[in-house]
């Protein structure tokens, strides 16, 4: 394992540890914390520090250490968690994240950035010194080894040295058990000692020194008398059972780190999983070929072949699902960052907001999880900045002072739905429409349905300039959010009621590696249309097809006009059916350009296809999302519907003539 490899593992692990630290901090802030929470937080910071030390990240270690000191006091109950200390720890976690990022990038963070924070942390920890002390001013240890102590190469002298590292130690030997010389067993332990340690350290730290000898000795630890009023009374001499019970668990818990209580897991390089995914993909293609071949043979010639092939495909599908599941991760890792954001933003905006999170355990492809953070953050910022009203306004509107934002995730069919609902003011359609007209996104006379108006906020160029603020008016608009969701093969829709709030729904694929597709024929070529994008397919009647000047052809369907995109023309495929009335029209829905009809020669069938990226070799191509290999060995391109849109339609869509029905289905 190379140094770089170790570093990579460390950074990956630290990111996870930070996430769990944020989660613990969120629990603390929301009063959901229990005794384990502070421990979990401590362990996360401690592990980050430990690894950081190994790589020589000194500033990171110093900062983590300062946080640990404070956490240690909170853990022991010497200090109580309050808003100030909580905020300090949050800032600490942020600073750790920054330092980690800087070390990872190899740039080094700007010097001294965390100095003020370090001072504040130290100051907070020092207030504990004036508070009643948690640890005694010192400890008296009565240590009586059992005869077998030496057999495991444990050496009392080394224990004394370890104690010395904690503070000054006075040692008194206890010779009472020393046998007469003729009965002295030279390899047994006969002496006992009393150590007086003058150090204000937690009991656990003293116990840790004796971690390995707990089974082989009698050990009594008591605070030095007279100096610690209110300290726990001296404990009776512990037998070996009791001593091991009190000493061993913290050690195990400590080393086990944040995984305690979590299901057992192994860390696997993503590249290895991707290789598996790819191999399974090849198998699926192979199986499709076999199935096709099997279908051409007379069943009498090879009885059982078809049944065997079917069992194979069943198992293969299970194998595929199993392998895909390895790549999935709970959305919790992204959701866990959100409470933090809400707290910071609401403080900054002077709003009172409660965040309710559900479905954190929902699992989704790792890549999707990672790329969800930015769009979600943006949506949440928007909800707080533009959605939720100031407390006084809410009260005036007859709502509770505190606004509620609900973030949820659930799996529905082959997709994951993530919803962000707020009970704020909702989208002010009149203002949105005025704005869109002003920007030339909508013709002045166009009549738009409510959902069409809501859709306008996703239009590029629809800046919320009227409401620019520090929080969300940073030049990144909802169009960027929509694009990033689309890049993940997902869709985003909004549903809003003026005065009572908005709901954003993100629908995402479970995985990016396979896709349910409709195979269509165009000339001698085959293309794949993602099933998720298809609304319907039909053979159009000639009288429903109209030519529109400058817009090509449109298809009238139940009173609405849908622009037609002949695929053969778009991709310059020879020998295709040019007459729409003799071909098939597949109606697809795009997020920003409404519906359109893809004109193809024929439908071949529906199948699950393995997505092979073309980008590495060809760069991004508008309208093409990738390629796949069909059962007969042919390569078929997978259409990227969103990328086809602009070529087919000239926006803005809402100005289309004779519109009798909405282009967008109303959202429920």
């Amino acid at each position: 394992m190379s140094f770089d490899h170790l570093r990579a593992t460390y950074f990956e692990e630290s990111a996870e540890l930070l996430d769990s630290a944020y989660a613990a901090l969120a629990e603390l802030a929301e009063g959901r914390a229990d005794a384990e929470t502070v421990h979990a937080l401590f362990r996360a910071i401690h592990s980050i520090k430990g690894g950081g030390g190994a790589f020589g990240f000194e500033r990171l270690v110093r900062l983590a250490h300062a946080m640990e000191t404070l956490l240690d006091l909170l853990r022991d109950g010497a200090l109580a968690m309050d808003a100030g200390r909580h905020a300090l720890l949050l800032r600490g976690a942020d600073a750790l994240a920054d330092l980690l990022a800087a070390e990872k990038a190899g740039t080094g963070a700007p010097p001294g950035g965390e100095d003020a924070l370090m001072q504040a942390l130290h100051a907070a920890a020092e207030t504990a010194a004036t508070a009643p002390p948690a640890a005694a001013a010192g400890w008296r240890l009565r240590f009586t080894p059992r005869p077998a102590l030496f057999r495991n190469a444990n050496e009392p002298l080394l224990l004394v040295r370890a104690l010395r590292r904690l503070g000054p130690v006075q040692v008194t030997a206890d010779l009472s058990r020393l046998p007469p010389l003729e009965r002295l067993e030279p390899e047994d332990a006969h002496l006992g000692w009393v150590f007086e340690l003058q150090a204000d350290v937690p009991r656990a730290q003293v116990e840790e020194v004796f971690e390995f000898v707990a089974d082989d000795c009698m050990l009594a630890i008591e605070p030095l008398a007279g100096e610690t009023p209110g300290a726990p009374a001296a404990e009776p001499v512990l037998g070996s059972e009791a001593a091991s019970a009190t000493i061993a668990p913290p050690a195990i818990a400590d080393a086990a780190g944040p995984t305690t209580g979590a299901p057992q897991s192994v860390r696997v390089d993503v590249a290895k999983i991707d290789r598996l995914v790819n191999l399974v993909g090849e198998l699926v293609i192979n199986q499709a070929m076999l199935l096709q071949l099997g279908g051409t043979l007379p069943p009498a010639l090879c009885p059982g072949l078809i049944a065997g092939l079917e069992t194979l495909s069943q198992h293969l599908r299970e194998l595929q699902e199993g392998v895909m599941a390895i790549r999935t991760q709970p959305v919790k890792s992204v959701f866990a960052r959100m409470p933090r954001l809400v707290r910071d933003l609401s403080a900054q905006l002077g709003k009172e907001v409660r965040l309710v999170v559900t479905g954190e355990a929902t699992e989704i492809d790792k890549t999707v999880v990672e790329q969800l953070a930015d769009p979600l953050t943006h949506l949440l910022r928007n909800a707080l900045d533009h959605g939720i009203e100031a407390p006084e306004q809410r009260v005036a509107a007859g709502k509770p002072r505190q606004g509620t934002v609900h973030l949820s995730a659930e799996q529905r069919g082959g997709r994951i739905l993530i919803e962000l609902t707020d009970d704020g003011r909702g989208i002010d359609r009149a203002r949105v429409l005025a704005r869109a007209r002003e920007r030339g996104l909508v013709a002045a006379e166009a009549e738009l349905t409510d959902s069409e108006v809501d859709e306008l906020i996703f239009q590029p160029g629809f800046s919320t300039a009227a409401a620019i603020s520090d929080i969300s008016g940073r030049g990144v608009g909802m169009d960027v959010v929509r694009r990033s969701i689309q890049a993940l093969g997902g869709r985003i829709t909004v549903d809003s009621r003026l005065g009572s709030g908005s709901r954003f729904v993100l629908s995402l694929p479970l995985t990016l590696a396979v896709l349910d597709g409709l195979v269509v024929a165009v000339g001698r070529e085959a293309y794949i249309v993602p099933i998720a994008a298809i609304a319907e397919s039909l053979r159009p009647r000639r009288e429903d097809i109209h030519a529109v000047v400058g817009r090509g052809e449109v298809l009238a369907i139940r009173g609405a006009y849908v622009p037609l995109l002949p695929l053969h023309r778009h991709f310059a495929v020879p020998d295709a059916q040019p007459d729409p009335a003799r071909g098939i029209v597949v109606i697809v829905e795009t997020d920003h350009a409404g519906r359109m009809g893809l004109l193809v020669d024929d439908l071949v069938g529906q199948q699950q296809v393995v997505v092979k990226s073309l980008e590495a070799n060809y760069g991004p191509i508008d309208g093409i999302g990738g390629a796949t290999i069909l059962g007969d060995g042919r390569v078929a391109l997978i259409l990227d519907i969103a990328g086809l849109g602009p070529a087919a339609t000239t926006r803005p869509m809402p100005t289309a003539p004779h519109r009798a029905a909405p282009l967008q289905p109303a959202l429920q």
């Binding site: 030390g53 495991n152 086990a256």
Partner: protein, 121 residues
């Protein structure tokens, strides 16, 4: 003189993580991939601390600990077991075979250094 530590583990990753951590802390580290190789190497050149995995081919950790304790020159060498939490029974076996202490996988580098210093003096 730098203290010498041997890490015995059939996982190269684990050996290298231990070695990396301890070298960084100033120890001299050698590696062996199973009990038999460790025993041969230690009989040729003893070290100050042995850190061993328990589950290994050829000669497992417990057998290695027994063999080391049976060798007069290595009776007093501190031996640390590097175990997973699920190996409680094995750990007890290792203890009675003469192991000095234990560490839990995955280990915390700081704790590893701390423990090795504690048992090595």
């Amino acid at each position: 003189m730098a203290k010498r530590v041997m890490t015995v583990d059939d996982s190269r990753t684990m050996r290298e993580m231990v070695a990396f951590t301890l070298r960084k802390a100033g120890f001299e580290v050698s590696e062996a991939e199973d009990g038999r190789k460790a025993l041969a190497a230690l009989q040729a050149a003893p070290v100050d601390v042995v850190i061993t995995d328990l589950n290994m081919p050829n000669m497992d950790g417990v057998a290695l600990i027994r063999a080391l304790r049976a060798d007069a020159r290595m009776r007093a060498v501190p031996i640390l077991m590097l175990t997973t939490e699920s190996e409680a029974a094995k750990k007890a076996e290792g203890r009675s075979a003469g192991a000095t202490g234990w560490l839990v996988k995955p280990f915390d580098p700081e704790k590893l250094i701390d423990v090795v210093k504690r048992v090595a003096g």
